[in-house]
């Protein structure tokens, strides 16, 4: 028990929680935008992979870190465009297309990686984002190291979430996107293009997912390896539901989730960890996500037109 308190009171635990949450926040915001516009994007897992890969590859080839993030975003938007084209104007099953995009994006990453580095056995490292050491602020006891010694990408994640919330709920564009996910006929009747709004949302959302992926290579692990995304995309879909399609709640959900993740890693080092097989701890994030879905199942306000393709003139 005292182990638990030690962990919960430690700076490193909270710093880790925020670090772990960062890629999830990016990708959850991306998925949230798509779903608010009415499109379920199951391409998220693969788009995170391609983001992780493209960002790393660019930096490995000599690009500055921010250019790596940009490359990741561009790759994500490309696969987002594929997803959007197939699901929006063509109205194909969002389930099947999403899984297809995940498979294609993942395979593309692995294919190009092997093509570029055929001989490599241990993945090469790049120099990742360094923690920002903000003067004064980072010297605040406890809060300083937890909040102000994170990398710039973590801050970008938090800013991004604020921006998404602002655009969705405080601008005409956000209103139009949300309306496209609630009743596309209403959007069309007001002279706006449902196709344009939904495609735009999917492309931009996919860009954010890819940035989330690039956090893994550019800020967390410094190298690209297979299966590194490891279901994080699916977890983000659960987080969108858990956050009731609201950016603020989704960020809280991501932080909560990351805190549990950071906790299970630390609990493995305690006497409790010695008693339980480590796989039990590793299962926790997935089981937690399922639990979140169950808890929210009765309450969540799903966008009314989520997964409903829209064809002009059809009712």
């Amino acid at each position: 028990m005292s182990d638990l308190f030690d962990i919960l009171l430690s700076v490193s635990f909270w710093a880790a929680a925020i670090r772990i949450a960062s890629p999830l926040i990016f990708a959850t915001m991306g998925e949230l935008i798509c779903e608010r516009a009415g499109v379920l994007n199951l391409g998220i897992e693969g788009i995170m992979v391609i983001g992780a890969f493209a960002g790393w590859m660019a930096v490995y080839l000599g690009a500055p870190l921010w250019l790596g993030v940009t490359a990741a975003m561009a790759a994500g938007m490309l696969f987002g465009l594929l997803h959007a084209t197939l699901t929006v104007p063509f109205g194909l099953s969002q389930h099947v297309v999403g899984l297809g995009v995940t498979m294609l994006a993942t395979a593309t990453s692995y294919f190009v990686y092997r093509l570029a580095l055929p001989e490599v056995t241990s993945p090469p490292k790049i120099t990742p984002f360094a923690p920002m050491d903000l003067p004064v602020l980072s010297d605040i006891p406890f809060l300083g190291p937890v909040l102000f010694q994170q990398t710039a990408l973590t801050w970008a994640a938090l800013i991004c979430a604020g921006l998404v919330g602002f655009v969705l709920f405080r601008t005409p564009l956000g209103l139009a996107v949300r309306a496209a996910g609630e009743n596309p006929a209403a959007v069309e009747a007001q002279g706006l293009s449902v196709t344009g709004l939904r495609m735009g949302a999917v492309v931009v959302g996919s860009g954010l997912m890819a940035v989330g992926g690039s956090f893994l290579t550019l800020s967390a692990f410094s190298s690209f390896f297979f299966e590194m995304v490891n279901g994080r995309g699916w977890i983000c879909i659960a987080l969108v539901v858990f956050g009731a399609w609201r950016p603020g709640k989704a960020v809280l959900g991501a932080l909560l989730f990351a805190a549990f993740d950071a906790l299970q890693i630390r609990l493995q080092q305690t006497p409790l960890g010695a008693h339980l097989p480590y796989q039990v701890f590793l299962m926790a994030p997935y089981l937690l996500s399922i639990l979140a879905l169950i808890l929210m199942s009765r309450r969540a306000e799903v966008p009314a037109a989520l997964m409903v393709p829209y064809r002009k003139g059809e009712r």
Binding site: R178, A179, E188, L192, R315
Partner: protein
């Protein structure tokens, strides 16, 4: 009046074909400033198609639309809005989870701008509400509004965009007669402010009450154009149906014993749709009970209950004694024929064949299957029987049902439920959206079933249909059921008061 500058909209030989069907055949029409023109026609006459062309949802194959002297680019709702055309659709185009204000503002500001402040927008909406008598709270969630309030939001949407021409598609279909009066008052204010109105309807008395001029459509063609002052309802009716009118002659009923009794039945509300509130109702052999009322007043709950989809929350349902179990299959087993409200979504499976649709609810009965194995040959001969006996026009039993017209689809459903010889028939909006011929056919089948001793419950929003067919009329309002009124004992206006909810307080 004939000043050409007064001309605000002109349709010139609009033509639209869907495959072999010509939905609009060279339709021409003009609308002047401050004028109400009614576009009158039966279901399927081409009114809605014309609307959709006007508003840019469809592109006409031929012809042109001019607004204020400028041609309107086809297929572009945005251009129609910009030209000052506002449209109130029959099926509202509102997002339920957004507020009234958000629904009105949607698409009115440049997407990539910050947008006007909420306070400014709200002040404008409130001013418009006041000026046109359209009371509705700007911050209410649309999903929580009544149908009448939603229609007000639709009109506000158009006014907020400074529409100069309002097009209303069957605006009163969802309103009580009293709500319709309030709508007319709003429209008169709009005319006084110089707006022009195109009013689409198939209800003669409304058209007579509000329109200056009537344009009558039949089979996609303009068959007449008259000033309202110079015509009569009878003349318009004759133009509309062109002598095809064939309301089946209903012989007086000889009611027999009670086949189903609802006693004080209450069901839970379902979102905005009210459930039943202590409803007591008898369905008797050889009698058509008509259920009138504005849609969304509990008819769906009653239909779901009798269909077996929901259980009574309290109160009892009995058929030859109380019901022990209740489900759709149990309803079928008890001899209830169910004609659902929406034949596309609920009544049929579009990509199934006629055979598969014919046995959709009876496939488990011996004769169609044995020990879990389907007997497709028996199913097909059943379908062939229906096709022959009910005059279903189709390529054959193996065709997918999505290829059929609404009328033929409805005939197949009719055959499916009537062939087993049901005791009770639930007909929920059985003729909505059908052409005149199919309407007469479906109605005559229902009367024949009644004469054969079945109890019929006919649910319809169309008061004329109810008054023409039903032996006993009940009215529903907010889940409550009025007492039964014998055929001819109440006028439409009197029934309208019940539809608006008056009378229940005394009756309850």
């Amino acid at each position: 009046m004939s000043d050409p500058r007064d001309l605000v909209m002109r349709l010139d030989r609009i033509t639209k074909r869907f495959g072999a069907l010509t939905a609009n055949d060279a339709i021409s029409l003009t609308l002047r400033r401050g004028e109400v023109v009614a576009l009158l026609g039966e279901n399927g006459a081409g009114k809605t198609t014309l609307m959709n062309i006007l508003f840019g949802h469809y592109v006409a194959d031929d012809g042109r639309v001019e607004v204020f002297g400028e041609p309107l680019p086809p297929g572009n709702p945005r251009a129609a809005l910009a030209a000052g055309v506002g449209m109130v659709h029959q099926h509202f185009t509102l997002a339920d989870n957004l507020t009234v204000l958000d629904n009105i503002r949607l698409g009115t500001e440049s997407l990539f701008s910050r947008g006007a402040s909420r306070a400014t927008a709200r002040a404008r909406v409130e001013a418009l509400s006041r000026d046109f008598g359209l009371a509705v709270h700007p911050d209410a969630r649309v999903g929580s509004l009544t149908v009448g309030e939603r229609q007000r939001v639709e009109i506000l949407k158009a006014l907020y965009r400074n529409a100069r021409i309002l097009i209303l598609d069957e605006p009163t279909a969802v309103l009580t007669p009293q709500e319709a009066e309030a709508l007319f008052a709003t429209l008169r204010r709009a005319i006084a402010q110089g707006l022009s109105i195109l009013f689409i309807s198939h209800k003669l008395h409304e058209v007579m009450a509000i329109a200056d001029r009537c344009v009558v459509l039949r089979h996609g063609k303009v068959v007449g154009e008259v000033a309202t002052a110079e015509t009569s309802g009878a003349e318009l009716a004759a133009m509309m149906v062109g002598g095809e009118i064939a309301l089946p002659e209903a012989r007086p009923a000889t009611a027999g014993k009670v086949l189903m009794r609802l006693d004080g039945v209450t069901t839970p509300d379902k979102g905005a749709a009210p459930g039943l509130k202590r409803v007591t109702l008898d369905l008797r052999a050889g009698e058509i009970v008509g259920l009138a009322g504005v849609s969304g007043n509990g008819q769906a709950a009653l239909a779901d209950l009798i269909s077996g989809l929901i259980l009574p929350g309290s109160g009892s349902v009995s058929m030859d004694g109380p019901l022990a179990r209740w489900s759709p299959r149990e309803a079928i087993r008890q001899g209830i024929a169910r004609i659902p409200e929406d034949r596309h979504k609920t009544g049929t499976i579009a990509d199934f064949t006629l055979t598969e649709n014919a046995v959709l609810e009876g496939y488990w009965q011996t004769g169609f299957s044995k020990a879990g194995l389907m007997d497709w040959r028996a199913a097909e001969s059943f379908a062939e029987g229906i096709i022959a006996a009910y005059d279903v026009r189709c390529p054959g039993p193996a065709a997918r049902i999505r290829l059929l017209s609404g009328g033929n689809m409805q005939k197949l459903i009719l055959g499916r439920v009537l062939e087993p010889g049901p005791k009770i028939i639930l007909a929920n909006q059985p003729v909505r959206g059908l052409d005149v011929g199919a309407i007469a056919y479906v109605q005559s089948r229902l009367i024949a079933a009644r004469d054969g001793g079945a109890a019929v419950l006919l649910i319809s929003e169309d008061l004329d249909e109810i008054m023409g067919l039903a032996d006993v009329i009940h009215v529903m309002s907010e889940g409550r059921l009025s007492p039964g009124f014998a055929r001819g004992s109440k006028t439409a206006a009197e029934l309208g008061l019940w539809m608006a909810g008056q009378g229940f307080d005394h009756a309850a």
